[in-house]
Subunit: 183 residues, 2 copies
C-alpha cells in the first residue's frame, strides 16, 4: 500500500475518533445516532463505517484509545499526574463513564475490554511490584490489592468529576500516599 | 384522606419504584421505555404516571431512595458495612451508575440531586467531625477532604462492581483505614 494512502487513512481514523468522542461524551452511547456522528465528524456514514464496523466498534475503539492514554500517563508521569489530569475534566470522561454501564449489560464487550490493554497493564504491575520490593510502598498486601485500590480511587474520581462535582486532587493524593505508606 | 387509601397509595408507589428500578438497572435510563416499565411493574402508563410526572421524575425518585438507603447504612452500620454491601452487587448499582451520566448532561437534575439528602449527609458529617475530635481518625486534614475521599472510594467500588469486576472488599477497607489512621 502506498505510503500517502496509509497516512491518509490514519488521519481519517483520528478525525473520526475525535469527532465521535465529542458526541459520545456529550450525549452518551445510547443518545448518539449516526446523523449526530456525521455532523460532528464531517463525513458521511459510508465513510465513517468504512473505518469502523458499527457504533459499538467505534465506541470501543475510543474507549480503548482513552484507556491506553490513561495508562500511558500513569507509566510516564506517575499516578499523581493521572489524578491531576482527571481534575482538569478531559473530554474522555464522558466516554469513560459510559463504558461502565455498557460493560454491565454486555458480557461480550466485557470480555474484549479486559484484553484491551494487557501490555500497559503489565508494565504498571511491574512498577508496583518494584515499589514494594524497594520498600517505597507497603508490601504487607498483594500488589493486586494495591493496584485495585488505586484503580478504585481513579474510577471514583472520574465519576465525581464527570458528574460535575469538583474533586479534591491534593487531598486525595495525600490520603492515597498515607494508605500505601509502609507500616 | 382515609387511612386505607393512603396505605394503598404508598404500596402502589413502592410497587412502581421496585419494578422501575429493575428495568432501569438492566437497560439504563435511555434504554428504558414506557412499555418496559408497564410490563415489569404490572400497571398501565396511566397508573404509573399518576404517581410520577414522567420518566425522569421516576428515575430521580429511585436514585433518591437508593442514595438515602446508602447513607442510612453508613450511619447505622458504618462505612465498612456499606463497602461490604456494594460487594454483594445490589440491584441499585445499575441506577447509581446511570445517575452519573445524567448528572453530567443535566444541570437542573444536578441542582436537585445535591439537595436530595441533606439531613443524612449532615449526620454523616457530624460523625466524622466527632471521629476527628476523639482522635480516631487523622485530624490534619479537613473533614471535607476525608469525606470526599471516602465518597470517591465508594463511587469507584460501585463502578467496578457494576461493570462486573469483582471488588476486593477487605483489601480496600484495610487501605482506607490506613489512609485515615492518625499520624
Amino acid at each position: 500500500m502506498p505510503k500517502v494512502s496509509e497516512a491518509h487513512r490514519s488521519e481519517r481514523r483520528e478525525q473520526i475518533l475525535d469527532g465521535a468522542r465529542r458526541v459520545f461524551s456529550q450525549h452518551g452511547y445510547f443518545g448518539t445516532n449516526v446523523a449526530m456522528l456525521e455532523a460532528e465528524i464531517g463525513l458521511s456514514r459510508g465513510a465513517i463505517f468504512n473505518y469502523f464496523a458499527g457504533k459499538l466498534d467505534l465506541f470501543t475503539a475510543i474507549a480503548r484509545e482513552d484507556k491506553n492514554r490513561f495508562g500511558q500517563v500513569w507509566l510516564d508521569d506517575g499516578y499523581d499526574a493521572l489524578v491531576r489530569l482527571i481534575g482538569e475534566d478531559p473530554e474522555w470522561i464522558g466516554v469513560y463513564l459510559e463504558i461502565g454501564r455498557l460493560l454491565r449489560t454486555d458480557p461480550v464487550l466485557r470480555e474484549r475490554w479486559s484484553d484491551l490493554t494487557e501490555d500497559i497493564q503489565e508494565r504498571i504491575v511491574q512498577r508496583y511490584v518494584e515499589l514494594q520490593r524497594t520498600g517505597e510502598i507497603r508490601d504487607d498486601l498483594s500488589f493486586e490489592t494495591v493496584l485495585r485500590f488505586l484503580g478504585v480511587v481513579l474510577d471514583g474520581l472520574v465519576v465525581q468529576q464527570g458528574a460535575g462535582f469538583p474533586i479534591d486532587v491534593e487531598g486525595t493524593l495525600e490520603l492515597v500516599r498515607s494508605a500505601l505508606s509502609p507500616k
